[in-house]
């Protein structure tokens, strides 16, 4: 019986990952020379993904996500479409604006649009905040840590075996989002996994259908 509280505590600790320590390179010069991983868009792109939603590892549904993202202006336009072609959600966001053009249940909640746009920007755009630290995580992975305007922390991580990842932590250091780019060669957006830690945890597995640079649009 004594083992049960310990087990619960262990599960709790593992489920609430916190901001890890970064070991800085020995000399400041080495830290300055360290190149930050950048899995982010370099130009305006249109991406179409099949998005599989999972709760507790169980597949719930698959939808089509269309993203039009311009890193130079941080403009995002996005849509969620069913396989049958019905548009469930459509929104666009600039630097400080958010316009929802269409939102059918269950995508019509107040926070959904804001969270979705934030997730898209997390995946495709370089963080807006300043780099606070560069170095290595305890497991050896190279990392650059950004501090966002709202106090959140963003770690952009690259590891030879694990590939590239982005982790977003709250100002209190609680892990909120974990983005993994599963493809190390070819198009980095071929397979993306987003793990969200919310009131109920969920994950999205995004598989690229098509990607197209956008000129003069």
């Amino acid at each position: 019986m004594k083992g049960i509280p310990l087990l619960i505590l262990t599960i709790f600790l593992f489920s609430c990952q916190t901001l890890p320590l970064i070991n800085s390179p020995v000399s400041p010069a080495n830290e300055k020379a360290l190149t930050c991983p950048s899995p982010f868009l370099k130009e305006k792109y249109r991406l179409v993904h099949a998005i599989e939603t999972r709760v507790a590892g169980d597949t719930q549904s698959v939808i089509i996500g269309v993203t039009l993202a311009d890193p130079s202006t941080r403009f995002v336009s996005c849509a969620i479409i069913t396989a049958e072609g019905m548009v469930l959600f459509e929104a666009e966001s600039g630097q400080d604006t958010l316009k929802v053009n269409r939102a059918l249940p269950p995508f019509d909640s107040a926070d959904f649009a804001k969270n979705m746009i934030e997730d898209i920007k997390l995946i495709f755009f370089t963080p807006e905040g300043k780099i606070q630290k560069k170095g290595n995580l305890p497991d050896g992975a190279a990392v650059c840590r950004y501090l966002e305007g709202n106090g959140d922390w963003i770690d952009v991580i690259t590891d030879k075996s694990e590939g590239t990842a982005i982790k977003r932590y709250s100002s209190a250091g609680i892990l909120k989002r974990h983005v993994k780019f599963n493809k190390t060669a070819g198009n980095i957006y071929q397979s993306i996994e987003l793990q969200a830690n919310e009131a109920f945890n969920y994950s999205l597995l995004m598989t690229l259908i098509e990607a197209q640079p956008v000129k003069n649009e």
């Binding site: 069913t82 049958e84 249940p105 197209q212």
Partner: protein, 210 residues
Amino acid sequence: MRTRCNLYIFVCIIGIFLVLGPLNYAGANDFEQLRKDSVKIKTIQAHFVQKKSMKILSRPLISEGRFYYVAPDSFRWEYFKPLRSIVIAYKNNTKRYIASGGKMVEDKTGGAQAMKIVLNEVAGWMSGKFDQNPSFAATINEGANTRITLTPAEKSMTGMIEKIEITLSKKTATVQSVKITESSNNFTQINFDNVEINKAINPSVFQDAQ
């Protein structure tokens, strides 16, 4: 629930008009004639190409699939690409399947109850009762081809579907296309080919999602 309900209306509408395509519509402005002719249809199957157009897409998103129907109420609406998914209605049981990890798994976002409601509505359409469905107002226009236009009559569809246009070929007496307009720059065009009427369909088509 409402979205799920409308999604299945969306799916079923497409199928319904494929079924009605081969009817003898010499007097097509006569809905009674459509009702009589619909009795002749026992099975139908067809290949389709779906083109989704909207402002965010520079070119239409193209999907491909196949449709099966056996009277009075068995459906299989299947997409092969870009996303494999299947809606099957069989013996008062309607399910949606999606591809995950190389196999087909049931969509767990619910809506089974909504699907039942929709299929009851669809049963009316299957009998050619266009002008008796309170959800849509139907009109028929004769020209080089025949065009049936449905416009939502109920507020529940407002903002979701603006209109549905079904084009029937006079020459081949089959449905050519269905266009579902959600808004002025957001529409879905489905073109049918290889339509086969009253050809035997293996019952496993409605039982096996693989």
